[in-house]
């Protein structure tokens, strides 16, 4: 049985998470504080952790750093609106994704499934299906409507960096560091330009993309077709 750790101090939010997650067949461990969460993460070895960023004893980001010290379990953070910097810090500290309060249970389950699936499979050598476009990352080939699409080496590297976290958000900093190197983490405009190029080449409507999604102020998220189908079903 898949076990999920919920670190959240509000009892009412824990209650609704407990009942919705239990209804989906998950076993739920509840921790009301960061300290308790750190202990429960060690003793119960959950498959995934949901961590509220505003905890009474210490910062949820610190808890993420602690868990990341010994585990690669997927971590989804709960954050308030207008707190982009907190989300970014949590993601850079090792969280895999975030969800903004208030949220519906469909949205949460969709995020959760993506993260669990991601943890279970190895993304190397994958083939991305993006609507009418198909990208073979290993062979560095892209096809759209049966015609070859020419991607530059940087465009491939960017797509591969996003695909390593398929379905999950990747911060600007992580992308810039992975594609251009750690000395370029401030050059966000590279991403603006290259994401536009990728969308122009792969998306049907580059302004309203379905696959290469913008997480405003935080980063980008690549969603492939199988994830889209699952996200739809979760609704």
């Amino acid at each position: 049985m898949t076990t999920i750790l919920v670190v959240e101090d509000e009892p009412d939010i824990r209650r609704f998470l407990r009942s919705s997650l239990a209804a989906e067949g998950f076993r739920v461990i509840e921790s009301p504080t960061a300290e308790r969460g750190a202990i429960d993460a060690g003793t119960h070895r959950p498959d995934l952790a949901i961590v509220d960023l505003a905890l009474p004893d210490y910062d949820g980001r610190e808890l993420i750093r602690q868990i990341r010290g010994w585990s690669s379990m997927p971590i989804i953070v709960l954050s308030a609106r207008h707190q982009e910097q907190m989300k970014i810090d949590a993601l850079d500290a090792g969280a895999d994704d975030y969800i903004t309060k208030p949220f519906g249970v469909g949205e949460l389950l969709a995020r959760l499934r993506v993260a669990l699936r991601h943890a279970a499979r190895s993304p190397v050598g994958q083939i991305l299906k993006l609507g009418r476009a198909v990208v073979d990352l290993a062979r560095r080939r892209a096809v759209r409507d049966d015609a070859e699409v020419r991607l530059t080496p940087i465009e491939f590297r960017l797509l591969a960096a996003l695909a390593r976290h398929l379905g999950m958000v990747v911060t600007h900093r992580q992308l810039l560091s992975e594609v251009w190197g750690p000395s370029h983490v401030g050059q966000t405009h590279y991403l603006r330009i290259y994401l536009k190029q990728l969308r122009d080449k792969l998306e049907e409507d580059p302004v309203q993309p379905r696959y290469l999604l913008t997480e405003t102020g935080v980063g980008y998220r690549l969603v492939a077709d199988d994830d889209q189908v699952n996200a739809m079903r979760d609704r």
Partner: protein, 351 residues
């Protein structure tokens, strides 16, 4: 300081006038001229200048007019009474004038307080209406579910639960807007600027509003090659979302909403154009005020903060936000953002 200069000037002016009057007027009339100067200075300025005017007047009067002239000695003891009266009048008048000024200040402050209080109570009435309606629905529907759930059909339960969910989302959106407006007004928002693409930001705004825009036809005119702007992207996203939402709320279904952007000199202009009934003449400014709803319709939704928030965000970025009536009917809600020198791009061999 200004008061003291006027006091000295007034005493000097009286002295000149007194010299002119001397051959034909009694000394007591010259004293009256000095007294007038003291009164004027006292009612205009505080006590200090009034005392200075009195002292200078008494000294000049004594030195130049009271026999023996050229000395401060006084022949006739009556003039000591004159001096004493001048000093007393100066002090009394300045005291009276100060009281009057203080009262005027108090009244102005009270009037301003009353105005603020009126605005505040209007706002509170408006806010509580906007928040109470969804709360009433949520209370009613959830109490039905909690207390009478077993007597309801699954469809009815589903419908009630859904309306709680929808009203809660609506309410969450309204509360978020109120908080955001408060933050913007308190100056508590620090811009986190970075290079942003307006087309990309527009994409996220449109995707957030997908459900609200299903009944409209959205036409995009965002040409390639628009410059990047140094902005706090989540805030600009929010401003643009508010403009688009405003257009969706205030125009009939099946009409077109056009989103355009273009470069105008050193500014990037973004325009949301709709083909609804348009703004009433003279409403172009009013619609940006807090808690304003358009004149023509009732209260079609929202707390009336969307446009005010959008403008506050744009102004924070050094831009402008305004509305125009379109000549063919409908209205345009526009904002501009300053364009800075574009950042250098790394060279890469073409694909």
């Amino acid at each position: 300081m200004k008061g003291y200069l006027w006091a000295a000037g007034a005493a000097a002016a009286c002295t000149l006038a007194g010299i002119g009057m001397r051959p034909r007027f009694e000394l007591v009339n010259i004293a009256m001229v000095y007294l007038l100067a003291v009164v004027l200075v006292a009612q205009r300025y505080s006590r200090g200048p009034a005392v200075l005017a009195t002292v200078l007047s008494v000294a000049a009067f004594d030195l130049l007019f009271v026999p023996p002239q050229g000395t401060f000695s006084v022949e006739d003891m009556q003039y000591l009474v004159t001096f004493a009266i001048m000093l007393a009048v100066g002090l009394v008048i300045s005291r009276l004038a100060e009281n009057v000024r203080a009262q005027a200040d108090t009244q102005a402050r009270l009037a301003a307080d009353a105005q603020t209080e009126r605005v505040r109570s209007t706002l509170l009435a408006s806010i509580s209406h906007d928040l109470r309606t969804p709360l009433a629905v949520m209370c009613g529907a959830s109490s039905s579910l909690a207390e009478r759930g077993e007597q309801l059909s699954p469809q009815e339960r589903q419908a009630l639960a859904r309306s709680v969910y929808e009203q809660a989302r609506e309410m969450s959106d309204r509360v978020a807007k109120l908080l955001q407006m408060t933050r913007l007004e308190a100056g508590g928002i620090r811009l986190d600027r970075d290079w942003g693409s307006i087309a990309e930001i527009a994409g996220t705004s449109l995707s957030r509003l997908r459900e609200r825009l299903t009944r409209h036809r959205v036409v995009l005119e965002l040409p390639d090659g628009l410059p990047l702007v140094r902005v706090d992207a989540p805030l600009i996203d929010q401003a643009l979302t508010n403009l688009l939402e405003n257009a969706a709320i205030h125009t009939p279904p099946d009409t077109v909403i056009r989103l355009r952007a273009w470069r105008a000199g050193q500014e990037l202009v973004v325009s949301v154009e709709d083909y609804g009934q348009g703004l009433a003449a003279g409403d172009e400014e009013r619609v940006f005020a807090k808690f304003e709803h358009g004149a023509a319709e009732g209260r079609p939704g929202g707390v009336g903060l969307g446009l005010a928030i959008a403008r506050a965000i744009i102004v924070l970025h050094g831009g402008r936000a305004w509305a125009e009536r379109l000549p063919i009917g409908g209205s345009a809600f526009r904002f501009s953002l300053p364009i800075e020198a574009q950042p250098p791009m790394p060279a890469e061999a073409p694909a």
